[in-house]
């Protein structure tokens, strides 16, 4: 059982996920990029021993991409299930990442699945699938100005219970770095303190903030023997800004942490 993807809990999200699953409630997870949403779902799928189908949403995504389509093979038509259909048939988890990117008319196919009917009508084959008890629909998105106008239809949104993620408190984020990469605690502590210094610049000097993912990258480089300052520069500074002066300031923060 210990083959689950490593996930460091932040609060009671594991319990909540399990309750949602047991009670057949669909779940919406929101939070900034790289804060562990995908990892959390992967972890829960493994923990509950369910197959996981992930779809990265984009504005070209059609209902057929989710549900399935006919293909032609040797002059014959073959129906091919989309990821959503497969998850329903197998009673697994279907995870729609960045769901606000999908057009609203696409997300409407989720409606009958995401309420108490739990059905998936497939127009093209005339089938109507009833989701087994273990099937769960999970969607995620990243709130922020970027998505201010996109949003979700209230009728979609209100079919889900919601979990808000953010970057974890320092101690837990350090544990994530240690757990993910095996670096020593001191280095983890320093990396997290740099990240939090950068995060203080959110909306002001930096458009984006350092995600846990980037910290994992930096830690990975350091674990591999890379000089910490260099690792932070390439994993954090240069990823977060193109502005030379901002970069100089960010490097100063790194030097103030790792010494010079």
């Amino acid at each position: 059982m210990e083959n689950h993807p490593f996930y460091q809990a932040q609060g009671s999200e594991i319990e909540l996920f399990e309750r949602a699953w047991r009670n057949r409630l669909p779940l919406l997870i929101k939070g900034p990029t790289g804060c562990g949403k995908t990892r959390f779902v992967a972890h829960m799928a493994a923990k509950l021993n369910l197959p996981l189908y992930t779809v990265a949403c984009h504005d070209d995504l059609t209902a057929a991409d989710l549900v399935g389509r006919h293909l032609i093979l040797d002059g014959q038509t073959v129906w091919s299930d989309g990821p959503l259909t497969r998850a329903v048939r197998e009673g697994g988890i279907c995870y729609l990442d960045e769901v606000v990117e999908a057009r609203k008319d696409t997300t409407v196919v989720l409606h009958p699945l995401a309420d108490d009917r739990r059905i998936l009508p497939i127009d093209r084959t005339g089938e109507q699938l009833v989701a087994p008890a273990s099937f769960m629909l999970v969607v995620s998105y990243n709130p922020g100005y970027q998505n201010f106008l996109k949003g979700m239809k209230p009728s979609t949104r209100q079919r889900f219970i919601s979990l808000a993620f953010d970057f974890p408190p320092a101690k837990q984020e350090e544990a994530i770095l240690v757990g993910e990469t095996g670096i020593d605690e001191m280095t983890a502590k320093r990396l997290v303190s740099i990240a939090n210094a950068f995060r203080a610049l959110r909306d002001h000097d930096l458009e984006e903030v350092a995600s846990t993912r980037l910290l994992v990258y930096a830690a990975t480089l350091i674990k591999d023997g890379c000089d910490p300052t260099l690792a932070c520069r390439s994993a954090l500074v240069e990823t977060l800004t193109d502005d030379p002066e901002t970069a100089v300031a960010l490097r100063e923060v790194i030097d103030a942490t790792f010494g010079r």
């Binding site: 032609i72 100005y145 320093r190 002066e245 923060v253």
Partner: protein, 612 residues
């Protein structure tokens, strides 16, 4: 005395020309941006500006503030001495350039440390040093290098008279072993200023009498600041040393200081009627506030004269005027035809080009925003087109083979210009408060003007439909809605002329302005309609339109806007906005720009992010 100490510090840090290491000098200009970001990253207040100023200016400023402090509570000038982080204009203390640079960064780091400002100077600086080195252990080697170089420049205790030697020894100890010195020994002669320590005390506030007991912990001043006051984080609570006896001076307060920005609030009795008297009183209050910002430069004059006709001389009415309702939250009732709104347009404006200082930014923004312009995209399932839509074709074939009815959706892909189906109306607050200074050299209104310019530049590069209006009010019968650019007008030299001509008006009856703007925006056919409100404070007007009443009416107006299918979003420079904007715009429905002078640059970027 302060000026004297200031100069002392100035000389020390800059090494007064002769002793300064000319070739090693680092100027604030060179590293100000780095320093500012560094400061914020280390936890410093993001609302602060960073700048240099000559030492002698502070005396002038102190007198100014003393004068203000006596104007009583009718006019609350809620200035924050925490507006600016002052650093030496240049540092040439050490012979090595890198050390001078490090001293800058060290001073910045030290000012970012969160220590109790009521602590005596010597304790506070040690605490800040300890805290900084603890949080950023990587600074230790640098601190040690700076310390060594600093000690080498300080007078040797052996060569000083006893009292001064004791003092010097304490300072040295405090520097070498921060946290180990509780009291600074008394000496008649001022000690040599300490380059590694800053003095985050704002200039003097005549009301506060905090004495410094030669380094012993101070008692908190008896009149506890109330909640509103304590929000001014860096409130000035220090006075001159009692004459003569102070062994150490209040330390150099020269450059490493915080300047302020004035904020105007006109205090009026809560349950005020629509009477002229109180309006006149308000005007009088404003007159009292006609102050020079500082005695050297020409001043910011805040003058407000009620004799002036409500429409400024060069504003002409456009059309009939509109009657609008207003929400009375106490009665839970929309009062019909309660406000009179008049669209006006500035007369005698001269068509103009983009101001020169904005051209570079505008050029950059335009090229960035072209990326948002209608892109060519492929449409699937078309009856005709340049390319075959393989998906559609396969589906059609499959449907035929499997016997289901093919939908006649077409099997071609066609390339088209994808329109951004978006209209935006920008509504700018032009009330009197925009006459206040946003930074050392720009008023809020100037910042708003630049923002309107750059916003227009950026949006005309996208091809998005947009309109711009300003508003202010003087009671419910006089809501002015300044025509800047309609949806149908092109952004041209005439529009620029109108932007150039915007002036601070009176009050801020937000509800009425939002209602009228909503009507205009709702008439646009676009699918997404963004109502962008640009403001610097809460709704308020003379006739009871303030506090809860104004907020609730504004909230109702926004609610109506959403009902019309519009998306209101607010961009503000009011740092207290978090207290009321969530109530009005919802948690994700507004952005606070902490440094007003960044607004012109930030506004287009926000727009881009929101509509991407």
């Amino acid at each position: 005395m302060e000026e004297y100490v200031g100069e002392l510090w100035h000389k020390l840090v800059t090494r007064a020309a002769d002793k300064e290491h000319e070739d090693a000098v680092v100027r604030l200009d060179e590293i100000s941006k780095t320093a500012a970001i560094f400061f914020r990253a280390l936890g410093g207040d993001a609302g602060l500006n960073l700048s240099a100023s000559p030492a002698t200016r502070h005396g002038a400023r102190r007198r100014w503030m003393q004068r203000l402090a006596t104007t009583g509570d009718r006019v609350e000038l809620s200035w924050r001495d925490g507006e600016t982080l002052r650093l030496p204009e240049h540092i040439g203390l050490f012979s090595e350039r890198s050390l001078n640079r490090d001293l800058y960064l060290w001073l910045v780091a030290l000012s970012a440390a969160d220590v109790d400002e009521n602590l005596p100077w010597i304790i506070r600086n040690q605490a800040a040093t300890q805290l900084t080195l603890e949080r950023f252990a990587g600074l230790v080697p640098r601190y040690n290098r700076l310390l060594e170089a600093t000690l080498a420049l300080r007078p040797l205790p052996e060569k000083l008279p006893t009292a001064e030697a004791a003092q010097e020894n304490s300072i040295r100890q405090a520097l070498q072993n921060p946290g180990s010195v509780d009291v600074l020994p008394y000496s008649k002669t001022p000690f040599h200023p300490v380059a590694l320590w800053s003095h985050p005390a704002p200039p003097i506030n005549a009301n506060a009498n905090v004495t410094t007991n030669n380094g012993a912990p101070e008692t908190v001043s008896p009149d506890k600041p109330d909640a509103a006051k304590s929000r001014r984080k860096h409130a000035a609570e220090r006075t001159d040393m009692p004459d003569g006896k102070d062994g150490f001076l209040m330390m150099f307060r020269a450059e490493s200081l915080f300047s302020w920005t004035e904020y105007i609030k006109v205090n009026r009795p809560q349950d005020e009627e629509d009477d002229l008297e109180s309006a006149a009183q308000a005007a009088e209050d404003m007159d009292n506030m006609t102050v020079a910002r500082d005695s050297e430069t020409s001043a910011a004059k805040l003058r407000f004269d009620l004799d002036l006709p409500p429409a400024g001389e060069d504003d002409a009415p456009l059309g009939e005027g509109v009657s609008l309702p207003e929400w009375d939250y106490k009665k839970q009732l929309l009062q019909p035809d309660y406000c009179r709104l008049q669209e006006v347009v500035a007369q005698q404006t001269e068509a103009c080009e983009l101001p020169a200082q904005l051209r570079r930014t505008a050029k950059r923004l335009r090229s960035q925003f072209q990326a948002l312009a209608p892109a060519r995209t492929w449409l699937k399932g078309q009856q005709e087109g340049e390319d075959i839509d393989l998906d559609a074709w396969v589906r059609q074939e499959a449907d035929l083979l499997s016997g289901t009815h093919p939908d006649n959706r077409g099997v071609y892909r066609a390339q088209v210009n994808q329109q951004r189906d978006l209209a935006c109306l920008l509504l700018a607050d032009l009330s009197l408060s925009t006459d206040a200074y946003a930074s050392d050299n720009a008023r809020v209104i100037d910042v708003i003007r630049d923002s309107l310019f750059l916003f227009s530049e950026a949006l005309s590069a996208t091809g998005d439909r947009f309109a711009m209006y300003g508003f202010s009010s003087l009671k419910r019968s006089n809501v002015r809605f300044n025509h800047l650019k309609t949806f149908d007008e092109r952004y041209d030299t005439n529009v620029r002329g109108r932007i150039q001509a915007i002036k601070p008006g009176y009050y801020t009856r937000m509800g009425a302005a939002i209602r009228h703007a909503s009507t205009l925006l709702a008439a646009q056919p676009q699918r997404q309609r963004l109502l962008l409100l640009l403001t610097d404070g809460k709704p308020n007007d003379l006739d009871r339109y303030e506090g809860r009443y104004g907020i609730e009416d504004t909230r109702m107006a926004l609610h109506e806007a959403r009902q019309l299918g519009l998306r209101p979003f607010c961009v503000t420079i009011d740092i207290e906005a978090n207290e009321y904007l969530p109530h009005l715009f919802g948690a994700g429905g507004f952005a606070v720009i902490r440094k007003p002078e960044d607004l012109p640059k930030e506004l287009p970027l926000l727009y881009a992010q929101m509509t991407r």
